[in-house]
């Protein structure tokens, strides 16, 4: 709350009062979240939707710096931002729409999709735990890393079940999503994976909602497959990951 800016004394005093009032209401957290994202999104659009100009990454860094500069605790910020966070629930339910629209292709491709889902999810989880363990991460960190390819609310639930820190998991989930969305194109191009259905489904499996958002910006078809993967992976992970990750964590 350092309102000691070089302004006229009276105005500065009043400004400080206003700041004290506003910083305690949810309005400010919500507004800065939307403004920062809007700004990051304009930047992203101006870059021609370049994968490295990911709007989530820019918003998170911008908001983090803003909170740090104004000395605002995360809990205060979240009182406003929770309204945005809350929409993750209805958005997950809303995935039923693109899922239904891809149902005919889904029926035809069920075996490749199921195989990719199981292999991709298990590979991401087991490699995260294994690499983290080799490099000496603590057990709570490993448990927080394990579900990081799953969409936030599900991942946080899994982390809690296996002894991780849900809020750390949320951060790792978002980082994974940004990384996947930003780098998948280069990886797929290098491996000559060109089918938009495959690219989309892999992105949704490994990089959940942020990967899905990215896929929708590339094409409707890629987005639908990513959304499908995100929904299925949430379901599959919720059912299977606590057991698999729990077993691995017992060994380490």
């Amino acid at each position: 709350m350092n309102a000691g800016l070089p302004l006229a004394e009276g105005a500065a005093g009043r400004l400080a009062d206003v700041w004290v009032y506003l910083s305690a209401t949810p309005l400010l957290g919500l507004t800065v979240t939307l403004l920062m994202y809007q700004g990051a999104f304009l930047l992203y659009r101006r870059s021609g939707f370049h994968p490295l100009a990911n709007p989530v990454a820019f918003s998170v860094v911008g908001l983090g710096l803003l909170l740090w500069a104004t000395g605002t605790p995360y809990a205060t910020y979240f009182e406003g931002a929770q309204f945005v966070h809350f929409l993750l629930g209805p958005a997950t339910v809303a995935l039923a729409v693109p899922l239904l629209e891809q149902l005919p292709r889904l029926k035809r491709l069920w075996l490749p999709l199921l195989g990719a889902l199981v292999a991709g999810t298990l590979a991401a989880t087991i490699s995260a735990i294994g690499i983290g363990w080799l490099l000496g991460a603590s057990k709570a960190t490993l448990a927080s890393l394990a579900p990081k390819s799953v969409t936030t609310p599900v991942a946080m639930g899994i982390a809690e079940q296996i002894g991780g820190l849900p809020s750390l998991t949320a951060v790792l989930v978002v980082s994974t999503g940004i990384l996947g969305a930003a780098t998948a194109r280069y990886l797929f191009d290098a491996l000559r994976i060109t089918d938009p259905a495959v690219r989309g489904f892999a992105l949704g499996t490994a990089a959940h909602g942020i990967g899905t958002a990215r896929a929708f910006q590339v094409s409707e078809e890629m987005g639908a497959f990513a959304g499908l993967a995100m929904g299925l992976s949430a379901l599959f992970s919720a059912l299977v990951l606590p057991a698999v990750a729990g077993l691995l964590l017992r060994w380490v």
């Binding site: 690499i131 949320a170 951060v171 892999a202 909602g209």
Partner: protein, 126 residues
């Protein structure tokens, strides 16, 4: 839009309630999705009503992850202490997940295409 939002919330609520009552291991919104799916399939008017709002929500999906991402502030200490392990595990496992999922799907698609030649014509462009 209000009706659509209410529908999504009702199904989320149903999902949450069932998960709690039956002690199911899936998250409420995921069960809500599974419950909504047959309703949309059998009732086209419901699908038409929900579609615009669902599309708007999903178009801005990445915004919804921002508040959780800012939570990085709470974990700077741990992230600093274990930066190498967390960073390397995060980057490599994400790439491994992407590549394994994509290659598995591609390989299985080729296999199933070979066994069903009639599917090849519609699937062939890539």
């Amino acid at each position: 839009m209000i009706a659509a939002l209410a529908t999504l919330l009702v199904f989320q609520l149903l999902g949450e309630a069932l998960v709690r009552t039956l002690g199911l291991p899936v998250p409420g919104p995921v069960l809500g999705l599974a419950l909504l799916l047959p309703v949309l399939a059998w009732r086209p008017p419901v699908l038409a009503m929900v579609r615009p709002t669902a599309q708007t929500l999903l178009q801005h999906l990445s915004l919804l992850f921002v508040p959780a991402g800012v939570g990085v502030m709470l974990h700077l200490q741990r992230l600093g202490d274990e930066a190498l392990a967390i960073g390397v595990a995060l980057v490599l496992s994400t790439w491994i997940g992407l590549v394994v999922a994509a290659l598995t799907m591609q390989a299985l698609m080729r296999m199933t295409r070979r066994s069903e030649p009639d599917a090849a014509s519609s699937e062939g462009r890539s």
